[in-house]
Symmetry: C2
Subunit: 322 residues, 2 copies
DNA sequence: TCAAACTCATAGGTTTTCGTTATAGATCGC
DNA sequence: GCGATCTATAACGAAAACCTATGAGTTTGA
């Protein structure tokens, strides 16, 4: 009889009495006085409006009703016992869930992190939501997601007193990317802002942080980018660049992991952007959430070290590797 | 939230808070003050050593652990709720069990009663134990069976102060029984004790009440019965009589229900014996037990009225009929 | 058969738990 | 920022659970 399980005393007593076949023995086992059992059982019988135990001199036995009621009692006890053990599982990270929000860019950059986490904690159910960068802060605040992964927001209201906190994971430098058949394929030299303005580009929609970043860069250097195609799909961009004459601007590490596209570093570098973890600063953080933030920072450090990485087809949640 | 169900208050509160999404609303619904909920939930969280609810200003939400624990809580609640409803079933006789003890003779006389009961209360699980007449009283006292059906015991210690009571169901007259091929087949006249002593008989073992009864009768009339075969099986006896030259002595109603055997009434009648219901006088009687005794007395009365009955092969628990 | 031992039930007093009121701290909407 | 709303805390009172002492009924063993 586990004291740690929340369970009605009368029912614990009932089980113990049947188990020991005697009020007295059960009382000893439970470290309570025997009259306590008498009283509690009496009240229980009144509450269910039926006798549960027959006290016939030598032995205590179950009535018909008692037999059936005890069966349900035991099942209920097992259920609550399982409940407390399940809580342990949550604490151990052998159970739980984690809702992750990220953008169409950051998923490419961190899906490996997700794979690592999933492998380390196979019991945690991960669910990811792709969403615009602007939504992520709200989603965190409104508790639609536990953790967000996004680019740092451009200066505007960096920490507006809300209870979300953003921590740096790593930085990404932005490069021009061209395919194998592109005229600049294999170019080692850096490319100037002016030259960059001459390339036909496939780019993300202007509501992406990455796009506004590029637009600002071009504006600062007095060039007007030639946007051939706009899309909200990173896969589309990569596909177009891989097999066509169009260029694009993407984080360097994404370019490196994709087959058939090559980076060309711009001469005045495009200001690098921070990839950040976004989560509630105050309030409850589930064990899974805490574990994820811990793993993420650790992973970001290792990422700097093991820079060379295998080329991958775009595939969030792909097979994990260091 | 049913007050009649035995269930831990903290868990009832937890369910209500989640249901209403607020401590205050749950407190109103439960007709308790709001601080009660705060305290109980706090204690519950301490007892399971994990936060279950996140109070984040506007809304109250479940934590990861709370989600899982609530699931188990609801199941446990349902289990105990089902338990109290199951007790109602027992009282309604739509569930329950009844253990019946009888002898190899009385089962033939009352299996129709059993069939009737089973049909009236299909939810009651009947289990029958065939046992020597002498065991039945002990079995009732030791609560191995709920009800016994046996012949009245010959005078000896009729009611020896124990808490078993015997009530009369009906009486049986004992007759000589012969098969179709027997010399006396079809005899209408009564048979004297002396003539009876000349018949070769197949009889029950001497430890059966019926047998001792016959032995006494013979002794009183100064005849020595010719026992050709002794057995403890009534079926064997009937089989032997049906298809052989042997006779036997059996209750009249058994003879009447068997094909191919015929009764011959002895001239000084063998003292008739009472078939009795045996059960505990004091202590708990299950609803099923009570219902059975009620039905049995009613059935015994009707039995006297509808005397003619169909011929049956020996078959306890055969298809019921009036 | 009787007494000792054992069982559960009951009564009265004590401790613990639970519930309530009052109030403080925090958050949300205006 | 201020009022409204919600939860947490504190202190007190009510209810319950528990314990000791004792009684009634049974069983055991001499």
């Amino acid at each position: 009889m586990n004291r740690r399980v929340v369970f009605p005393r009368p029912l614990q007593y009932l089980m113990a009495i049947v188990e020991h076949g005697s009020y007295t023995k059960a009382a000893e086992a439970l470290h309570v006085s025997q009259p306590s059992l008498s009283q509690q059982i009496k009240q229980l019988e009144e509450s269910v409006m039926a006798p549960l135990l027959v006290r016939s001199g030598r032995s205590v036995r179950l009535t018909d009703a008692g037999e059936i009621y005890l069966h349900h009692t035991r099942r209920a006890y097992g259920e609550l016992d399982a409940g407390t053990r399940a809580i342990e599982d949550v604490k151990n990270l052998s159970r739980g869930s984690l809702r992750l929000g990220w953008t169409p860019i950051t998923d490419f950059l961190t899906c490996d992190l997700l794979g690592t986490f999933s492998m380390q904690h196979p019991g945690i159910t991960l669910s990811t939501l792709e969403m615009p960068a602007d939504d992520i802060d709200n989603a965190v605040m409104e508790d639609r997601i536990d953790i967000g992964i996004a680019f740092s927001k451009a200066g505007t209201k960096d920490l507006n007193g809300k209870d979300v906190v953003r921590t740096r994971l790593f930085e990404e430098t932005l490069c021009l990317a061209v395919g194998n058949s592109h005229a600049r394929a294999g170019q080692k030299e850096r490319i100037s802002a002016a030259e960059l303005g001459k390339e036909s580009m496939v780019m993300l929609n202007p509501n992406f942080a990455l796009r506004t970043q590029v637009d600002e860069y071009c504006h600062q250097h007095g060039v007007m980018p030639k946007i051939a195609i706009e899309t909200d799909s990173l896969s589309v961009i990569i596909e177009m660049v891989q097999f066509g004459p169009l260029a694009t601007i993407l984080p360097l590490s994404i370019i490196k992991t994709q087959c058939g596209i090559h980076p060309i570093v711009p001469a005045p570098a495009i200001p690098s952007k921070e990839i950040q973890l976004i989560y509630r600063s105050s309030g409850y953080k589930s064990p899974a959430c805490r574990a994820f933030t811990d793993l993420a920072t650790e992973w970001a450090i290792n990422r700097m070290v093991n820079k060379p990485r295998r080329k991958l087809r775009p595939c969030p949640l792909a097979s994990p590797e260091g």
